[in-house]
């Protein structure tokens, strides 16, 4: 996957803070997702499946979505920072998370129980809504978090020593 992304200039620059931007966006994006989960009765079913209270389920969800958001922003790099196309990449990520998490991991950790009927529809819709919102938010949340060019350019890591081989020092006694 990384090589597929790198061809599009994936590597985020040093002023970017993708983990932080993704985590913040991931948490904010749970708002529409929770609304959908409640509307379809899926939140109650997920709590039952996980043997947790509603609030504990929400807490676990926020933590998981913060981590997932951070992974999204780091993994998708330039695509995640795309103001116009970010939403669709986010939605794709939400779909992938649903496929991996809700459809595969959830039944595994709950001993084989899974949402069905309207609750299952709510789960998939909530993940798509979460992903779409995440994708929309990341570019806007990220930009103000960037380190400023002025301060970042003062770092010694980008200064004259960068001319040498990375981490290479002369053998002792040679100079």
């Amino acid at each position: 996957m990384a090589s597929f992304l790198s061809v599009h200039g994936y590597a985020p620059g040093p002023t970017q803070r993708p983990f932080l931007a993704g985590a913040i966006s991931g948490v904010i994006a749970t708002a529409p997702a929770i609304t959908i989960l409640r509307a379809f009765g899926s939140l109650r079913v997920e709590a039952l499946v996980l043997h947790l209270s509603i609030w504990a389920t929400l807490g676990a969800g926020w933590a998981a979505m913060a981590i997932a958001g951070a992974i999204y922003a780091r993994l998708f790099g330039r695509a995640a920072n795309n103001v116009h196309g970010g939403w669709i990449f986010g939605m794709g990520f939400g779909f992938a998370l649903w496929a991996a998490g809700a459809a595969m991991v959830l039944p595994l950790i709950s001993g084989g129980q899974a949402p069905a009927g309207a609750a299952a529809i709510g789960v998939v819709l909530s993940m798509l809504a979460w992903g779409t919102t995440l994708g929309v938010l990341v570019p806007f949340v990220h930009r103000p978090l960037h380190e400023r060019l002025e301060t970042a350019s003062r770092s010694s890591s980008v200064g004259p020593n960068a001319a040498t081989q990375k981490g290479e020092n002369l053998p002792k006694g040679r100079m």
Partner: protein, 573 residues
């Protein structure tokens, strides 16, 4: 988007066709609709169709962004290979989950055998067949994501960005030139039918105001900027300046000072290519019109990298005329050099103090062994690299090169016309350097990349020793973004060494401001693959090398011998 919708539509047409023919195929579209409308076949189908078209678009965008051009297959087969991903997901995740969604209960105990039990031969054949159709259609339609048909025009942003602009702080005459450039190549490919336009591919037409602002933030004093000749110069005496009036006004008002690149690897549609000798007459007319419209411009590159342009167009068969013969190469060189000389003269008539930065790619060929044929081939290439500069700088060539020119129909008179010319005093020899410009001539006589063996200083000195002109490092970058800072500082040490050794060196350029598109394949195909060499990526976020360049400029710009560059002052006198 079109390819995604078309792929989804083709998928449905094939499945409908099979259903009408009475073949037992699984219909994913109908199943998708049935999740919402259990009881209405028609409504379910309509909703399923819409949802499926949307999914088709989503997958197409993923294909375009992450998958396209990664496999060495024809486009339809690339699409087919990609379609395996949604097919597998549809088979093992979406279909079993949709079965669960159609149940009348909220929770169910599931198991792998139960979920896999929903997948029969009908499902496997239907899903694989329909996704294969989708992939083939998607791959067949998504073939040239960048560039445009010759004769058409890209849209250009007419309004400035809302970001506040600030003038370059350190604009002073006679200081060392810290430069970058806007990548602006515009050759044609596909035998003159498809226009590569890096200004469009890299988003400059849309983001030009932001690009100039970023250049100012980095702190460069000069910017190599090539207005799109093919869009501005629409015929003899016909110009569309509206494309560049605003950007030029912005540069005039706020800087950085432009080094205007008038011809960058391509000719206008109506002139065709560099085999057309009218190029040598038409481009001076354009240069004259440009100098009259923007009389404040002082720095010009009449024709960029003439050797590279002639070689790629007429010897390697990749751009413009796409020829592969020595006569065509010689013809292109003479047309380009004639154009350059004519443009220079036309500008000087209107701006006598204009300064000409004649940038050329430094090339060097090293024989791999003492084989006389290999040594001879290397010697020839090491002389041929100078040919366009020899013409515009009125430099004599060897007997061997004279013989080569005669062999390809260049009369001594035609050559001597260049040799008898007076070279403008305010000429700067621009020497570009990349890690692929040093070559090893192998035993078969073919060039192979040597990487950075001798370095810019050694190669540039060969050019300096030949022409004894004021010099500038006019282009460099590094293909591995993680090595960009290292490359920048190493190039900079080459600059310092040259200056210490008395070479009149007036500027340095990191090329380019943003990442480029498809330069990893020399623009010969329209793949749309990012070449991460910019100070900023294509989102306009800084790369490490951008920070390093700002660090470097801040460190050196106020040093006495950079604040006042004697060689440049002398040239501008």
């Amino acid at each position: 988007m079109i390819a995604g919708v078309a792929g989804a539509a083709a998928m449905e047409v094939v499945l409908r066709g099979f259903a009408i023919a009475g073949l037992p195929v699984f219909d994913l579209v109908q199943e998708l609709g049935a999740v919402v409308f259990h009881h209405s076949h028609l409504l379910g189908w309509a909703v399923g169709l819409g949802a499926h078209a949307f999914v088709g678009v989503m997958w197409a965008l993923f294909y375009a962004y992450f998958f396209w051009s990664r496999l060495d297959l024809t486009p339809p087969l690339q699409g087919l290979a990609f379609a395996a991903v949604p097919a597998v997901l549809a088979l093992f995740i979406v279909h079993p989950q949709m079965t669960l969604m159609q149940m009348d209960q909220d929770m169910i105990r599931v198991s792998a055998p139960m979920l896999l039990g929903t997948i029969g031969v009908r499902e496997v054949s239907g899903i694989l067949l329909s996704h294969a159709v989708y992939g083939l259609v998607l791959g067949s339609l998504y073939i040239r994501p960048v560039g445009y048909k010759v004769g058409s025009r890209p849209s250009v942003a007419r309004k400035k960005s809302v970001r506040p602009r600030r003038p370059v702080e350190r604009r002073r005459d006679g200081g060392f030139m810290f430069a970058t450039g806007i990548e602006c190549s515009y050759p044609t490919i596909d035998n003159g039918r498809w226009r590569r336009d890096e200004l469009e591919s890299c988003g400059h037409y849309k983001h030009w105001a932001e690009d100039f602002e970023l250049a100012r933030e980095i702190g460069v004093t000069h910017i190599r900027y090539g207005p799109p000749l093919h869009l501005v110069f629409q015929g003899a005496g016909q110009y569309d300046w509206s494309i560049i009036d605003e950007p030029m006004a912005d540069l005039k008002e706020c800087g950085p000072e432009p080094i205007v690149d008038l011809c960058h690897f391509g000719a206008p549609d109506w002139l065709g290519n560099f085999q057309n000798e009218d190029v040598a007459k038409a481009l001076p007319e354009y240069a004259a019109a440009f100098a009259e419209r923007y009389p404040w411009v002082r720095f010009y590159t009449p024709v960029n990298e003439m050797y590279v342009c002639a070689r790629k167009s007429a010897l390697d068969g990749e751009w413009n005329e796409q020829r592969r013969d020595e006569s065509a190469f010689v013809n292109a060189v003479f047309n380009l050099a004639s154009a350059s000389v004519g443009m220079t003269d036309a500008i000087l008539e209107r701006r006598p103090d204009a300064i000409f930065v004649n940038s050329e790619s430094s090339e060097f060929s090293q024989p791999c062994c003492p084989d006389p044929d290999v040594k001879s081939a290397a010697e020839f290439e090491n002389e041929r690299r100078f040919l366009p500069l020899d013409l515009i700088y009125a430099h004599e060539v060897s007997d061997r090169m004279r013989g080569y020119l005669r062999e390809h129909d260049v009369t001594d008179d035609a050559f001597d016309r260049f040799c008898n010319r007076k070279v403008p005093r305010r000429s700067i020899l621009g020497v570009d350097y990349y890690e692929w410009t040093e070559h090893l001539i192998d035993r078969e006589g073919h060039p192979r990349s040597l990487g950075e063996l001798f370095g810019w200083y050694t190669i540039a000195m060969q050019y300096y020793d030949r022409y004894k002109l004021t010099m500038m490092h006019t282009e460099t970058n590094q293909t591995d973004a993680s090595e960009g800072s290292r490359w920048l500082w190493r190039q900079w040490h080459n600059i310092q060494l040259a200056r210490q050794n008395g070479v009149p060196l007036v500027g340095f350029t990191w090329y380019s401001l943003t990442d480029q598109i498809d330069w990893n394949i020399g623009l010969r195909e329209a793949l749309g693959v990012v070449f991460p060499v910019g100070l900023f990526d294509l989102n306009r976020d800084p790369r490490e090398v951008g920070l390093s360049y700002k660090h470097l400029i801040n460190m050196y710009c106020d040093q006495p011998d950079y604040r006042e560059c004697k060689a440049l002052k002398e040239l501008m006198r």
